[in-house]
């Protein structure tokens, strides 16, 4: 725990109370659900903590083939929910089982992952691939935006005065796959990739591809998605994907991995992930 100087700990009962408390502290309070990121932050300006876990925002609901997930739902809560297990053949659960170790998954929430959206994290890469929609409330009312759009804004500053309430995942007719490269099973990714494919009459009808931890936050490769549509899944296509990704995806160095290493592995990683998605559809 690195925080010091906290004078009050509040238990907010609803969104309005949380917003009132945030306003009263004029930026010197933080919302807290799992607290995993907050407890490790070095914010010396904080005087108040506002616990939002008692506001009824912990739920996972299936809706028309999609999912609605309350912001304070823990990753374990999602993993154990029937609706998440059924969503996209268990794809979301497959991803979350590879995010952090179980005790951290018992604490960390999906809302926290969206509000922090660390560049190295796996969840942002998956959410942009799935076309997630994020909902939040502030003093002006309720808002929504796609995760991609949200993360292009100054979202961390925005969430100092807003309550993230829900993440919605749409229904898809197709298959998704996720791969990450990391030093150990529960470690932070050195590179991650999520892909989705829809195949009709043996050809790719739609594609979603995102790469993250490059070391930038996960973002879609729309040029690759356009290229894939109309092509037949197979080894020849995966080789072409590997070469194009290696040539076009921008990677750089950070303390975890060098740009040269990322450049060497990003092509095979994307090709492997696409192949796995195609295999799930029986069209490899």
């Amino acid at each position: 725990m690195r925080l010091s100087g906290i004078k009050r700990y509040h238990f907010a009962r609803d969104v309005d109370e949380a917003l009132s408390l945030l306003a009263a502290y004029c930026g010197r309070a933080a919302l807290l659900a799992g607290g995993v990121d907050l407890a490790r932050s070095a914010r010396g300006d904080l005087e108040g903590l506002i616990d939002i876990t008692g506001m009824g925002l912990s739920y996972v609901r299936g809706e028309g083939g999609g999912l609605r997930i309350g912001a304070t739902t823990t990753l374990t809560g999602i993993l154990e929910s029937k609706a998440a297990k059924e969503y996209l053949g268990g794809f979301l659960c497959e991803v979350l089982r590879r995010v952090a170790a179980p005790p951290l998954r018992n604490m960390a929430t999906l809302g926290g992952a969206v509000a922090s959206a660390h560049p190295w994290a796996d969840i942002p890469t998956v959410l942009v691939t799935l076309g997630a929609e994020v909902r939040w409330s502030d003093e002006k009312g309720e808002h929504r935006a796609s995760a991609e759009e949200l993360w292009q804004r100054q979202f961390r500053k925005m969430f100092r005065n807003a309550v993230l309430t829900e993440i919605r995942l749409p229904a898809w007719e197709g298959a998704f796959a996720f791969e990450k490269l990391s030093r150990s099973a529960c470690d932070i990714a050195l590179l991650n990739c999520a892909c989705g494919l829809g195949v009709e009459d043996g050809k790719i009808a739609w594609a979603r591809v995102a790469v993250g931890a490059t070391p930038r936050r996960g973002r879609r490769l729309t040029w690759l998605e356009d290229f894939l549509v109309g092509n037949q899944p197979g080894e020849g296509l995966w080789r072409e994907v590997r070469d194009r990704v290696e040539a076009q995806v921008e990677v750089s160095s950070d303390r975890r991995a060098s740009a040269a290493w990322r450049k060497a592995v990003v092509g095979p990683l994307v090709a492997r992930t696409l192949k796995r998605a195609a295999e799930k559809m029986g069209d490899a």
């Binding site: 700990y9 238990f11 374990t76 089982r97 005790p103």
Partner: protein, 157 residues
């Protein structure tokens, strides 16, 4: 501020600092099995159970356990009356310096409370966030599998 919570089966009503960690509170209350390692939630030495779920007490605010049930290794039995899980660690020789052991045992406890017949792979996944710098993990995995076997035989309480 004051909070009430259940610690190892006993009700507690205690004063805490609003920004205090659960680790700090538990050690103040004499739960010395709860170790401070990294203090960033990465090493697993401070793991305790909150409502049966393993969490990192070093990055859990003490206020969060208000009205909840906390279990530390002390709550699993005593030296004279060992719970079968720590007993399995002794039997398998899975303890050297002992610093990681309480967190390892409580993480394993959560696993075995939900799955009493885990595969070695499932055990390794469960303890993947608990670091041991002495024994390596082979004997720890063996101990947890042994404890699971004892649980299936009805030796747990």
């Amino acid at each position: 501020m004051k909070i009430y919570f259940e610690l190892n089966g006993e009700q507690q009503y205690v004063d805490i600092e609003p920004g205090e960690s659960l680790l700090s509170l538990l050690r103040r209350l004499g739960m010395k099995s709860v170790k401070q390692g990294c203090n960033t939630g990465d090493c697993g030495a401070c793991t305790v159970l909150v409502d049966g779920r393993a969490v990192r007490s070093c990055i859990t605010f003490a206020a969060k356990v208000r009205g909840r049930r906390v279990t530390t290794l002390e709550g699993l039995g005593s030296v004279d009356d060992l719970h079968p899980l720590p007993e399995a660690f002794l039997e398998a020789g899975a303890v050297q310096c002992g610093f990681c052991t309480p967190g390892m045992i409580l993480t394993a406890y959560e696993l075995l409370s939900r799955n009493d017949d885990p595969t070695p792979e499932e055990v390794r996944a469960a303890i993947s966030g608990n670091l041991c710098r002495c024994t390596g993990y082979a004997k720890i995995v063996r101990a947890i599998l042994l404890a699971a076997e004892w649980k299936r035989e009805g030796r747990w309480r």
